[in-house]
Symmetry: C2
Subunit: 340 residues, 2 copies
Amino acid sequence: MSDKRLGTQTIKLENPPSIVATASIVGPKEGQGPLKLYFDEIIEDELWGEKSWEKAESKLMRETLAKILSKAGKSPGEINYIIAGDLLNQCIAANFGLRESEIPFLGIFGACSTIGEAMGIGAMLIDGGFADHVVSITSSHFCSAEKQFRFPLELGSQRPPTAQWTVTGAGGVLLSKQGTGPYITHVTIGKIVDLGIKDSNNMGAAMAPAAADTILRHFKDTGLSPDSYDLILTGDLGSLGKRICAEMLEAQGYPILDHYNDCGLMIFDREKQDPHSGGSGCGCSATAFAGFVYAEMTKGSLKNVLFVPTGALLSPTSTQQGESIPCIAHAVSISTSISS
Amino acid sequence: MSDKRLGTQTIKLENPPSIVATASIVGPKEGQGPLKLYFDEIIEDELWGEKSWEKAESKLMRETLAKILSKAGKSPGEINYIIAGDLLNQCIAANFGLRESEIPFLGIFGACSTIGEAMGIGAMLIDGGFADHVVSITSSHFCSAEKQFRFPLELGSQRPPTAQWTVTGAGGVLLSKQGTGPYITHVTIGKIVDLGIKDSNNMGAAMAPAAADTILRHFKDTGLSPDSYDLILTGDLGSLGKRICAEMLEAQGYPILDHYNDCGLMIFDREKQDPHSGGSGCGCSATAFAGFVYAEMTKGSLKNVLFVPTGALLSPTSTQQGESIPCIAHAVSISTSISS
C-alpha cells in the first residue's frame, strides 16, 4: 500500500496542490444573504437573459469558468481537466455550459457533494502527475431543481419546515501543482450511507449520518481531531442535519460544535429569508467555499478547514418507488500552510 | 509538465494497472445475440424478480460487483474505490445498486462513455499511488431508458431507422496495481464535441465526431497509428456513426477500417434482432468489453485494443428546449504486454 494512503479511506497528498483561484456567481436571493459580499457576481433574475432555467444554469457554469480563468490569467488550453457536475437529469448544466470550453472533461455526479468529489479527484490527478491545472466546478438552480425534483413553481406548493432551499449559483476552483496555497492536504472519499430515511423533504437528516461517517473516518485515518481545524464545514445539512451530525460525532468522542458550521446555514438568513431548514444544492457548498472560505483563508483568518460537502443520491423515481435515501459525503482538508 | 503526459490529452501510465477480473450480466435479448457466450449471466426477463425496471437495473449493478469480487477472490474491504455511473436520472442504478457495498464511492456521468471514464480515472488513481484496487462498473436497461428518455413501452411507439437499442446489462472491471495484464497503458480523456446535430434518434451521427476527435488526438499524442491496434472499438456509434467516424479519421490520414468495430454493432444481430442502428447505453460497451474483449485478450487472440466508449450528453429537457447534442468519447489503450 502506498504511503499516500492513511487508514482505510484517506489520501495524504504528497505535493499538496494549491487552490490558486476561485469564482462564484449566485442568484438574487443568495445575493441578499449573509455571504453576499463574498460572491463575484449576483445575477438580477433567475433567467439571466436566457429562455429557460436550465439554460440559465448552464450560463452560470460557463461564466464561472470564464471568471476562474480570467482571475488566474489562464487560457482554456492550459487546463488539463475540468471536473464538473450538477443536479439536473444527465447533468446538462455542466454538459451544455462547458461544451465550448475545449478542455478535457470528466463529468461526475454526487448530488450536493459533487464539489467535494470534484476537488478530491482533481487534487489526486495533480498529485499523481497527470495534470498541472484542474478546474472543479458545480452548479444548482432553485427553479430548475424545484421543477425537476418537486413541483412546478407555478403551483405555489407549501414546503414542510424540514425542506431546504436549493441555491441558485455556480462555484468553482482552479487547482494547480504550483502555488502558494491554500493547499489541499488530505482527501477522504466517503462511502454511501443509507439509514433508511424516506422523507425527501428531510434530506438534512438523511445526509447527516454520511457526513458523520466521513468526518469520523477522516479523524481516525489521520489522527487529527476537531481542534486541528478552525472550521469544519459540512455541505448542506441544514439546521436539523447539522445537529444530528454533531451529536453522532460527539457520541463517538469527537465533539465538533466549537468549530462547526454548515454551508446551508451560512448562505441564507434564516430569520429574514425563510429558507426553512437551510440552503442546499450543488451550488450551495461550491459558492460558500469559492466565496467565503477561500477569501477568509487567503486573508489568513481561517487557517485549517475541513470541507465536507454532502449529497443525497435520490431521484423522484426512487422516492415514488418507496426507496430510502442513500447519501454520501467527501472530506477535503485545506490548509494555508503545508508544514501543519 | 510530468512525463506521464503525452501531447495535449493523453496519459501514459508509468506502472500500467492490470485488469484482473471482469463480469457482465445482460438481459434476454442481449443473451440471444452474437456475444451471448461471453457473458457471465443472462437474466430471464427484464424485471429479474424486482418490482420495477429501475430496481432491476440496480440489481444488475449489485450482482455484477459481487461477481467481480468473487472471481478475483477479493472482499469489499480490499477495494479502495468503486467508480460507477449509469443513464438514469441522478444515476440511481449505481447509487442504489452499490449503496450496501461499503466501498468508497465516486459517482460519474458520461452517458454511454461512462465505462471509459471510469476505467481512465481508475487507472490514474492506481498509477498515482492512491489505490491498489479499483472497481469500475456501469449499467443500462432498455425498459428504464425507454421510459425515461423516449416513450413508455406500453405505447408501442415506432422507432426511426437511425434509433439505437439500449442494452440491458451491467459490466465492470477490477483494476489492480499488481497483475499479469491485460494492462491499461494509455488514457485519452475527451473534450465535449457538439457539431449541432439535434435529432435524439440519431445519436450515432452526433457522437461520431467526438469519437473521431479523441481517436485522432490519441494517435497524435502517442505517435501510434491504426496498425498499432488489433482492434479499435468505439462504444455505440451504431452503423451510421461508425461509418462517419471512420470517414472523418480517414480524411485526417488515419484509415482505421481494417481494425475497427463498434460495440453497438457487435452486441446484436442486425439481421435477426432488429436493433435498428445498433445497441447503445452505458451497459453496451461495458458488457462488450467485460465479456468479449477481455476474454479474447486473456486468450491472446487480441493483443492491443483501443477501447473508445462514446456518450451523448443530452437529456429529454435539453432536446425539448431545442438544444443540439454535446458528445464525448474517452479512449483507453489496453495491451496484453507492457513491453509494446
